[in-house]
């Protein structure tokens, strides 16, 4: 099984996010394999949630489509299990705390270990509240990724000291979604993080163009692209293969 650090090994990581179950779980399995073949270094699989408060319209809509199409947590686990043996890159989950909590931390992370999930990103689980989930996740070799935001300021040091997997640096204020311009002083935040940890830093939220990939790969150890990929799948559904290959190719080439 790949570990998160493999994605950053000797290269700038290009991390792709997609929503499990949009348009179907079978299509998601294909899209994940396509993304891997197109050259992404790590895949973040979104588990749909009824109320994704950190997401912009694109991912909210994908979440609604996935739930309407019947995607449930057990189905997401089965889908990931079905491609486990073909995955050469690390795979992490991104979801909200409630689906994890209600399923039961132990049961959830045990299942993650079985199907080769090596990390999890939970946007509504800040540093202060991580304890209970992190302890259980650790037992099953699942790393809990912490987010750092433009507003984290003096919290950066304590978050960085305790970080595992990678640090998800939120590029700008607000929710996920494509943005034309990002005005946060990201180099300053990255260097503050680097003072406290060796854990790699990847920048996400609002990144959609090869120029942005180029710029942020210089600042950090990797970039995360979500909404732009989710939008391609939203427009083309199960036929998104070609669009994904073309888009990821262009982005990958830039990094």
């Amino acid at each position: 099984m790949s570990r998160i650090k493999d994605a950053f090994d000797g290269k700038k990581a290009f991390i792709a996010y997609l929503m499990a179950g949009d348009p179907t779980l079978a299509a998601s399995a294909e899209h994940i394999l396509t993304a891997q073949d197109a050259g992404v270094d790590m895949v973040e699989i979104g588990i749909p949630f009824s109320d994704p408060i950190a997401e912009g319209e694109v991912i909210q809509a994908a979440s609604e489509r996935a739930l309407a199409a019947g995607a449930r947590l057990d189905g997401v686990f089965d889908m990931v299990a079905s491609i486990k043996d073909r995955m050469r890159i690390p795979v992490v989950f991104m979801t909200y705390l409630n689906p994890v909590f209600v399923y039961g931390y132990d049961r959830f992370f045990a299942r993650c270990e079985q199907i080769g999930i090596c990390g999890i990103i939970i946007p509504d689980l800040p540093f202060e509240e991580q304890g209970e989930a992190k302890e259980v996740a650790g037992k099953y070799g699942v790393e809990v990724v912490t987010l750092v935001a433009p507003t984290s300021e003096k919290r950066v040091a304590e978050i960085a000291k305790d970080a595992e997997g990678f640090i998800y640096l939120v590029s700008s204020m607000g929710v996920t979604g494509v943005r034309g311009e990002i005005t946060t002083d990201l180099p300053a935040i990255v260097s503050e993080i680097k003072r406290h940890t060796d854990v790699p830093v990847a920048i996400g939220f609002g990144i959609s163009t090869p120029e942005q990939v180029c710029r942020y790969s210089e600042i950090a150890d990797g970039v995360i692209v979500g909404s732009a990929i989710v939008r391609i799948i939203g427009e083309r559904g199960a036929e998104a293969r070609e669009g994904l290959v073309e888009y990821i190719g262009a982005m990958r080439g830039a990094g």
Binding site: L73, N98, P99, F101, V102, D124, L147, T151, G174
Partner: protein, 394 residues
Amino acid sequence: MKDGRFGDFGGRYIPETLMNALHELEEAYMHYKDDPDFQSELDKLLCEYAGRPSLLYYAENLTKQAGGAKIYLKREDLNHTGSHKINNVLGQTLLAKRMGKTRIIAETGAGQHGVAAATAAALLGMECEVFMGKEDTERQALNVYRMRLLGSKVHPVTSGTMTLKDAVNETMREWTKRVSDTHYVLGSVMGPHPFPMMVRDFQSVIGREIRSQLQGVEGRLPDAVVACVGGGSNAIGAFYDFIGDADVCLVGCEAAGRGVDTEQHAATMTHGTVGIFHGMKSLFCQDEFGQIAPVYSISAGLDYPGIGPEHAWLHHSGRANYAAVSDDEAVEGFELLSRTEGIIPAIESAHAVAHAVRVAKELGEGKIIVICLSGRGDKDVAAIARYKGEDINE
């Protein structure tokens, strides 16, 4: 309470982008809550602007009709803007101003909290934007216009179920976009710490007044305090001062909608399970995979799938009891209070009226109960007429 917890309930489960703002808010609140200058400014506004103390009224006709305990009404409906929401809004908006914020944002269900926020913003010279589920903007069109009249911008929320829960989601998203000059005036005892504690404190004036007013007329404590619960702010406001008085029975009334045995209710205590959502660990109506369930109530203000963490704790510890009251029963309570006392209650408060009549019968003569009449019902008249099959223009 430790680390923003009521037992295991509460906490601070919110995106990192907002964590610093929550820490700053807690720090500012802990400072100003004991600041004589802040408190005297707030007290002055509560008395001279909001009309506090609100009356404690002996509802003699309703008492006779119920046939049992004496029923008093705590008249929060007589506050400026017509509900208890103003107590919290004045506190938070003053606090925001002291913190140097120039803009407030708020969610609203029935529109009572939105109207109160818009009012406080107009009074205190703040910019204000209110997020309201599109379905609720249609149910409560008059309140939408009222907010705009007061100078606020109203955003109809079209995501999810287009009701209160989605309005909260959208207000949180807005806060992550713009936090430096903006305070989120949360309308209930919910959300991440310090909101449940802070909103409770601002609402606890209700219970303190009940205690002293009832002491004045009856020379004793009530046997029961009854209030409706959505998020639970008027209930916690009425209950809080009595939590230490074990003989005072505390009763919350949640919305059973079309019945707790149907899919269409908002009965979090009856059907909810422990979850983590909207910043707090509490009870929620949800499915086995932790997806938040669509809920329903005739009352937009109770149409919420969760409940404040302190209520979850009071329920868990057995200190308070919670009953589910259906649409039909609430409408009966609405009509009953209107006919017997000439007081038209908010449909939210009518849930408490309906259940209180049962409690009065059970307790019997010689006992005293207080209903927190959290709001007035003008906003609901057209909707109730429609419910009864009469289509009238607002």
